[in-house]
């Protein structure tokens, strides 16, 4: 029992950091930063489930993020569905899209899977660009509503008119995502996902129906991306097709790799570093991508376990045997 509560420590640490953050660094600017960092923690952790743990190089993550965003926003603006219902529907839509795309592509391996999912992702962007009567095309959609408050009466309430509440909501989802991926990775099911990454043929001849496992990981991971989109869109108050194109997937991949692929905490470190640094340095998007590229190359060469692995080695020097940050799935 003592051992188990010890293992919850990093999560408690993340919770404490997230709660204290707006107190330590007050102001709208830092709240905004916190919201974007939380967004990328969700996107990166869920991609880590698909790509890092299960080993499926599917590069359509941003498309599912977009399905969540466009799906929920269009339901609200076109059909007048109440936001939180539309929110749930957006996540579900991302799941359904993932089921269909996954079922038709996940038998492919390596580069073939990457190319096929890339094509689906482009197809999605083209659809958004060209179905102008529905999506307003490349001009995007301006979102003029504020999501109604949500919470459990008497316990807590997120009043999304305030940036602070939005931060706490996004952070809660980020925490839930990290917790979920970690729990899953340590379960029997997660072990099988890791086994599929390591040797799918062996898993198959050992009696695991690997296609179903892959499809499950892909669908669940994509639903988290959908959740990120559906939650973040009203805060951003504007969505457009190029927010959800392949570049965005590559950006998420970069954060995952720099943070530490397969690491549970890598997405957290990666998101904090890669979101806050360019904002602080105030550099242009183009320069940003170049800088990321260089950082990625450096990381790949100098620290293949990413930031998480690097921090872990630092800590184990201070406290031998300790793994706090590098915790691998």
């Amino acid at each position: 029992m003592a051992r188990r509560s010890w293992q919850a420590l990093p999560l408690v640490g993340l919770l404490a950091a997230g709660v204290l953050y707006p107190r330590l660094l007050p102001g709208d600017y830092f709240l905004h930063l916190g919201i974007v960092v939380s967004l990328y923690i969700i996107l990166t952790s869920s991609l880590n489930l698909i790509m890092g743990i299960t080993g499926q190089f599917a590069i359509a993550h941003a498309a599912f993020y977009g399905v969540g965003a466009y799906g929920s926003i269009l339901l609200v603006t076109r059909l007048g569905v109440p936001y939180w219902w539309a929110w749930a529907a957006g996540i579900l839509l991302a799941g359904i899209a993932a089921l269909i795309i996954g079922a038709s592509t996940l038998h492919l391996k390596g580069a073939y899977l990457a190319i096929c999912t890339f094509a689906f992702s482009e197809l999605f962007r083209l659809l958004l660009d060209n179905w102008i009567s529905l999506t307003n095309g490349a001009n995007g959609i301006i979102i003029r509503f504020v999501p109604p408050p949500i919470g459990i009466p008497g316990l807590f309430r997120f009043d999304l008119g305030s940036r602070r509440s939005y931060y706490y909501l996004m952070f809660t989802f980020a925490l839930v995502t990290v917790w979920f991926v970690r729990r899953l990775a340590r379960s029997d099911l997660g072990r099988v996902l890791g086994a599929i990454r390591q040797d799918e043929t062996l898993a198959l001849t050992a009696g695991f129906d690997t296609r179903r496992y892959k499809l499950l990981a892909f669908t669940v991971g994509s639903m988290y991306a959908g959740l990120a989109g559906a939650t973040y869109a009203p805060y951003l108050s504007y969505i457009a097709p190029d927010l959800f194109d392949v570049n965005e997937t590559i950006y998420i991949m970069m954060i995952m790799m720099i943070g530490g692929i397969r690491s549970i905490w890598g997405p957290v470190w990666g998101s904090i570093l890669l979101v806050s640094l360019p904002q602080a340095l105030d550099i242009t998007p183009l320069l940003r991508m170049i800088a990321y590229g260089l950082v990625l190359i450096l990381v790949m060469i100098r620290m293949p376990d990413g930031l998480a692995g690097f921090l872990d080695r630092l800590v184990s020097r201070l406290r031998p045997g300790g793994t706090w940050f590098g915790e691998k799935a």
Binding site: D188, V192, F208
Partner: protein, 249 residues
């Protein structure tokens, strides 16, 4: 237990297996030998469902299993190892075996599947301890499987098959002794004999004649995708057709 009837497999122009028939009786250790490229591995791949037949039938306990996907063949009770060593290198030795022990939930009903989600991977198991003890890998159980010596990894791969859930009744071994030192080969031979006494059936592909002579009740000899001999190892060894296939032309 296993019946191969007229099994045929083509790769483009090559006839890798040309109407091969033989049987593996329950509780026996059958050797499958032949020169390089004679079709032994292809045969194991067909039995385990990794590739499809072009002709003939494979029956396991009276039911056709050709056409089944590999995971379904495994769940019927056929396990295998690979000529090119396969295990889960990032897991520890023990985690490898624990993974194999897990119930195969996917494909069962949704409820049991979801119920398995929160379960943190398997707890202590006396069975796994005993297996590790038997092959002398107990003190290596917390090490990454990929970090062991080649011979030790081969033993882990063998234990992995034994740990499958449901337990395999028929075990296919593809060159278990290749690249393994003599001490470990002896460990392996003992283990195979031990599990045969406990009712398991084996089909062993092997080049090492000593292993074949020590282990097998019957030997089937393949050459160029054809069965050229079958019988007790001592007799097959004297067979002129076998001599010719191995040393002739």
């Amino acid at each position: 237990m296993l019946t191969l009837a007229d099994v045929t497999k083509r790769f483009g122009g090559i006839l890798a297996l040309d109407g091969v028939s033989f049987q593996v009786r329950a509780g026996c250790i059958v050797g499958l030998i032949g020169p390089n490229g004679s079709g032994k591995t292809v045969m194991l791949n067909l039995i385990s469902g990794l590739s499809r037949l072009d002709g003939g039938q494979i029956l396991f306990r009276g039911d056709r299993i050709d056409g089944l996907p590999p995971y379904a063949v495994a769940r019927r009770g056929i396990g295998r190892t690979f000529q090119l060593l396969k295990l889960f290198p990032d897991l520890t030795v023990r985690q490898n075996l624990e993974l194999m022990r897990q119930p195969r939930l996917m494909g069962s009903n949704l409820q049991t599947m979801l119920a398995s989600l929160p379960r943190v991977a398997t707890g202590p198991s006396a069975e796994i301890d005993a297996l590790l003890e038997m092959v002398g890998l107990h003190d290596k159980q917390r090490e990454r499987a990929g970090s062991l010596s080649y011979g030790q990894q081969k033993l882990v791969a063998f234990l992995n098959v034994l740990c499958m859930n449901p337990e395999p009744e028929l075990i296919l071994l593809d060159e278990p002794a290749a690249g393994v030192n003599p001490t470990m080969i002896n460990t392996l031979i003992r283990q195979v004999q031990h599990f045969r006494e406990r009712g398991k059936t084996f089909l062993v592909v092997e080049h090492d004649l000593k292993v074949i002579m020590d282990l097998c009740d019957t030997v089937v000899v393949l050459d160029h995708g054809r069965r050229i001999a079958e019988g007790p190892p001592a007799k097959v060894r004297q067979d002129p057709a076998v001599m010719e296939a191995y040393f002739g032309r």
